[in-house]
Symmetry: C2
Subunit: 418 residues, 2 copies
């Protein structure tokens, strides 16, 4: 029974979370370092397991890009190990007392950072998420329940086995890292409603997965990932700088959520700028530009954009383009079409830049820089588990601190309420 | 059509939220002060409207307690006005830059406090929630959609009319305060899934309402309110102090979420303590004590407790009681039965107190003080919209700061990612 299986997993993870939340930073770091070493030592087993995922995937005609995402080699295992070591090196957020105040009645009220408890992470076919997610959640004092894509199940099992054995060897409950090794969808649905044991669910993947989780979960969710990121080229833009930033944000890495997917260009510069853009992005970089009618009057080579184009996260060599007549129109357009991830204005005008920063309602808003910087590492968090595009709890990169909550600790001496 | 009606309300609130989030603190405070005055000036109309709610309620046999909760008089209107003025006097959380860091590549990355956007509040028959909730949400730069109990609909309409007229008179979009004036349940269901326009839903009321919202909402929810609060009398407790605190936490106000509903008593002191407790709570205060067998051997007047008793929020002159043999057992018992609201230990033992503070997994954990202090005012926040019992976003009293989110603002000079 799916419900019994998932209930058991939840109960075990909850029990483990009570142990993990009280581990000292030293013990957590030792476990993490040992996990990194153990993964390196188990390279052969992990690669063998990975082959069991790759063979049916190839036989079923999985695309080259997805096969690449699924496959594990020595270098990728080293990458996983390094990721874990990075997390071990980060400052432990648990136990920090953010504030401590004396009230007039003598109560001393403190606000203390504590682990969330049990975090369920639902992801797709990238097996390395297994070790990344475990490491971050564990360092922040949580137990994790991991449910990866069925395509990657053998790889995920192999990686989690190594982690679980290492935890046991360090006298830590192995259920701090539990995986759902059933690939049937009913198991996910049980997970999404296990409020009794799970404190938060983080989906990592495409829009389809995220929507499925948001629609069906009763456990609180942190939405991550989908980025229809905009760059607005203002009338006061340095056009060469705009071109460099757009090229970087669109082409430096295509399949990431902070890549630029849509351009907004001011009508006072578009006659000059669009031919430059055409040369750089379309001719040089091979990016298809889907534009509105006004833009196509300047560059007929642009492809006509449909309404849906403006809502799309392409993750491909395609970008949409819209001409606007003033900065407020650009802001309104972006707020109506973006997914609330990252947006940038390119401008030398102070008022436009400040207005854009204030009024664009996204997790990260840039002046004169590439949207590609929205990333835990680039923001100085060291590592992240995803980018939150919702407003509740955490917005932007989810680092260690975002995997904690707070609790009030109150020191009294017999106070009663009057 | 419910979906069209709710969609229209959402769209209007969203549009208003874009105006409210950019209002200066001065303008917001002027509006709030004017609302307070306008409510006082409209006392007659509001009381007349309230009668239209009270008459059918009486005819339908509503209990005295509920009728009292529903009724509005001059004094209560003054209370609402004072509540609004308190909010006007609080520090505006919007715009605070929490951190600003220079990255090695020259990017200056700031974390800024910004409004959530549109907050929907679903409540029961307490009409004053209308003005309280509006004032807090508005001061934090948000628009609100209010959906109160159908019993209170005429009162809610009258109060919101006054607020909306005042906003209009101050050139602020009246849709910063929209009410759902349809009492059919289908309208609530539409509201719970209006992710397009609503950023967060806060249910205020009993367990039934909260569970209904959690189970059906796809919009992120902040759970509030249900408090099965525990007080643990340790073997090292000052028993007189324990008695005073328990009496206060149980009887000072019965119908509140931070009242104590369950006692846990150490077996080394129960023989001495239970007779004291019986005298004070049962004989003097008329509180029914539902206890386990061991306790009833000492005081046969205690009523036998069922398993369900230990999960109950009575909000009445009833309390449950459990005997344990050591501090870890008390902690485990509390974590298994509490709703994660507020719990207290009464002890002179340093190690027990620290362990209780660390291991009890609730929003507020006390040493030697009454659980009744878990309150925005008592915590120094000035006012609150409820007590969060979930771990995501906000835990404990929800003050102005908890009605905001953050956004990253990034100042660049042409940075691209390498």
């Amino acid at each position: 029974m799916a419900s019994e299986y998932i209930n058991d997993i939840g109960m075990r993870a909850k029990a483990a979370s009570k142990i993990v939340r009280n581990l000292s930073t030293d013990v957590k770091n030792e476990c993490l370092k040992a996990c990194a070493q153990a993964l390196m030592d188990a390279s052969d087993e992990i690669i063998t397991a990975n082959k069991k995922d790759l063979e049916p995937a190839k036989a079923n005609g999985m695309s080259e890009a997805l096969l690449d995402r699924l496959s594990i080699n020595e270098k990728r295992i080293r990458g996983m190990a390094e990721g874990i070591l990075t997390v071990a090196s980060l400052k432990d957020p648990v136990g920090e007392v953010i504030s401590m105040e004396n009230r007039p009645n003598g109560l001393m009220i403190g606000k203390k950072r504590v682990p969330l408890g049990v975090i369920a992470i639902i992801y797709e076919s990238r097996p390395n998420v297994t070790s990344d997610a475990f490491a971050l959640a564990f360092k922040a004092g949580n137990a994790v329940i991991l449910r990866g894509g069925s395509d990657a199940i053998e790889s995920i099992k192999a990686i989690s086995d190594v982690i679980r054995k290492t935890l046991t060897a360090h006298d830590v409950d192995a259920d701090a890292c539990v995986i759902v090794d059933k690939t049937d969808r009913t198991y996910v649905n049980e997970l999404l409603t296990l409020n009794k044991y799970i404190d938060v669910i983080i989906p990592r993947g495409g829009a389809g997965l995220i929507n499925m989780v948001v629609e069906n979960a009763t456990v609180p969710v942190i939405q991550t990932g989908v980025g229809n990121c905009h760059i607005y080229v203002d009338k006061a833009a340095d056009l060469d700088l705009a071109l460099d930033i757009i090229e970087n944000a669109k082409t430096q890495r295509l399949g990431v959520c902070n890549a630029c997917e849509s351009l907004v260009v001011h009508s006072e510069v578009y006659e000059k700028f669009l031919p430059m853009l055409y040369e750089r992005l379309m001719v040089k970089d091979g990016v298809e530009i889907r534009a509105d009618e006004r833009a196509r009057e300047i560059v007929p080579e642009f492809v006509p954009a449909s309404d849906e184009d403006y809502y799309k996260e392409y993750l491909d060599k395609i970008i949409s383009l819209k001409i606007v007549d003033h900065c407020p129109e650009a802001i309104e357009w972006i707020n109506a079409h973006s997914t609330g991830h990252s947006e940038a204005i390119i401008s030398k005008n102070y008022n436009h830049a400040m207005r854009f920063l204030n009024e664009v309602d996204s997790a990260a808003v840039y002046v004169n820089a590439s949207t590609r910087f929205t990333d835990g590492g680039e923001f100085g968090m060291g590592a992240e588990i995803g980018i939150s595009t919702q407003k509740l709890h955490a917005r932007g990169p989810l680092g260690l601190q975002e995997l904690t909550t707070i609790k009030y600790i109150i020191f009294g001496s017999g106070q009663i309420r009057k």
